[in-house]
Symmetry: C2
């Protein structure tokens, strides 16, 4: 499972950073990509990444500012031109439906019945057998969401030693014991799974926030996330400017990461005023508060390992 | 005066060619850029060209297919962010207004009073002291225009030899004679400009067509153009396919160029099915019919010299 940064700039494209888009490649068994925001030329960035437009299953839009949505009509058209039948669901604030529908209608693009658009409210917006997605409200002048993607906990490991002591040797029976709550052995004994399986394994938790001022109250929602993606539009010495424009500083992002006890912080949405060396200063500022901080760059990929710890 | 090709592909962006946009940098004295079509990531292409978004004075849209318009909202936002007061006029088919207005409104972009959108019909759509622009109707399944940009004829050269024979020596009086219809000399003689000025100098004529099937009847409108920009989405051996999809072949473009007696033909809107070598075959096919043919490439610039010939 990987996080691919396609665009990491703020407001306008520059030669160094495109406007925002992030892709989460879901675990192997799923073979899907979930996209977060789709600034202009996101489909161009995809051409230079290993990700295929046809694999995109869901697009979550944090807010409707142009640098987060102007790539949607092009990506949707290209994707449906390549694979017209593939279903795609888009989630975002009120207004996203009108924007997409007018853009596609005016341009004569036929996206058939394969596109479903959800205008969402904060709360749990998606759940399947393995994953949930929660939208949390941010503070950016217009409706803006953060998305918290959580893998459900999975069964712990079989306690092999205990099974051996019970006289049950390894074999196909082990898979059976793990797959059902109670298994009857050939000798008539009833084995309850809960007696022979360790604690649940915690799922992964990925928090991808849209543009926002510093919001310490997010701590609870993002607690212990494996990865927090937080904007850092401004340097630590510009907290007033950040607040005035609905954005955060590097150190504010790091403070939230620390307070919420997350494992890793990735800074993105870097203003074009900070060129390469200056952008590194933003990371240094953040690392003073929260050492496990990284700077997003266009096309940079972060691996998200399967959790080995207990939940 | 130069023609800058920012995007020369058809339908979808590829690594080689972006979707359509062409800029005409107007003569020095005007310091303006006129853009024709604005596919997604046109503002990104501008970052790699010498042209500045703030210099764009007019944008002419040939038709509303996504590969010709999806870059408009981003370019307009960026431009008005950089220079909010600068006026811009957009010309295009019915529907362009709704597309632009919804995109900007939904995304909270403020383009103030500086944007004027004209939904046009075929005919003369613009005229000033030096230039006219005419929209001609093409055949592409949806309303689609070609734009014919014509420089007005300018006064011919002063006949210096004749003036000398009349006893009028070179000096500030020459400028005066050229600037008004009749000039009275200190000795009382009346000099009529028409008697001492050569034939008008023909202005430049640039024909930039949108997507179209082969339309021989365009011959009259584009007659003797200095440059004809014509699509060549398909190779010469695919005339049925070209017609079915509302496009032209390389040889059809060349045939029109030849019949209309234009000076130079530039092929653009090249399908991604034709990679570099195959695209060169398109040009070879066209040159067999019309030798003065060139292939547009992203970022390629063509100079358009001031006309020295008489009109
Ligand atoms: Zn924003
Ligand atoms: Zn078209």
């Amino acid at each position: 499972m990987e996080l691919h940064f396609l665009g990491t700039g703020a407001g306008l494209p520059s030669k160094d950073r495109n406007v925002t888009s992030i892709c989460l490649s879901m675990p192997q068994e799923r073979q899907a990509v979930w996209m977060f925001d789709c600034g202009e030329a996101t489909q161009h960035q995809l051409l230079h990444s290993p990700l295929k437009p046809g694999k995109i299953e869901k697009i979550f839009i944090t807010h409707l500012h142009g640098d987060h949505i102007y790539g949607l009509p092009g990506l949707l058209s290209t994707r449906s031109f390549q694979q017209p039948e593939l279903q795609l669901e888009v989630y975002g604030p009120h207004g996203i439906k009108e924007y997409i529908e007018v853009s596609l209608r005016v341009s004569g693009s036929h996206v058939a019945n394969s596109l479903i658009i959800h205008e969402i409210e904060p709360g749990r917006i998606y759940e399947d057998e393995g994953w949930t997605v929660q939208a949390v409200e941010l503070s950016h002048g217009i409706p803006c969401f953060g998305y918290i993607v959580e893998e459900k906990a999975t069964l712990g490991e079989l306690k092999v030693e205990k099974l051996r002591q019970m006289g049950i040797a390894p074999g196909p029976i082990y898979r059976q014991i793990k797959s059902q709550e109670v298994t009857e052995l050939p000798d008539g004994r009833q084995i309850r799974r809960s007696d022979v399986v360790g604690a649940d394994k915690a799922g992964r938790k990925i928090a991808i926030l849209g543009d926002t001022t510093y919001l310490p109250e997010l701590k609870g929602d993002i607690e212990s996330a494996d990865i927090l993606v937080h904007e850092a539009t401004f340097s630590a010495d510009e907290p007033e400017m950040a607040k005035a424009y609905g954005h955060s500083t590097s150190v504010q992002a790091a403070t939230l990461a620390k307070d919420a006890n997350v494992k890793r912080l990735i800074l993105t949405h870097i203003s074009a005023r900070y060129h390469q060396e200056e952008a590194n200063i933003l990371v240094d500022q953040a690392r003073d508060v929260f050492p496990e901080t990284e700077l997003a760059e266009d096309m940079r990929v972060f691996e998200i390992q399967k959790n080995s710890s207990d939940s």
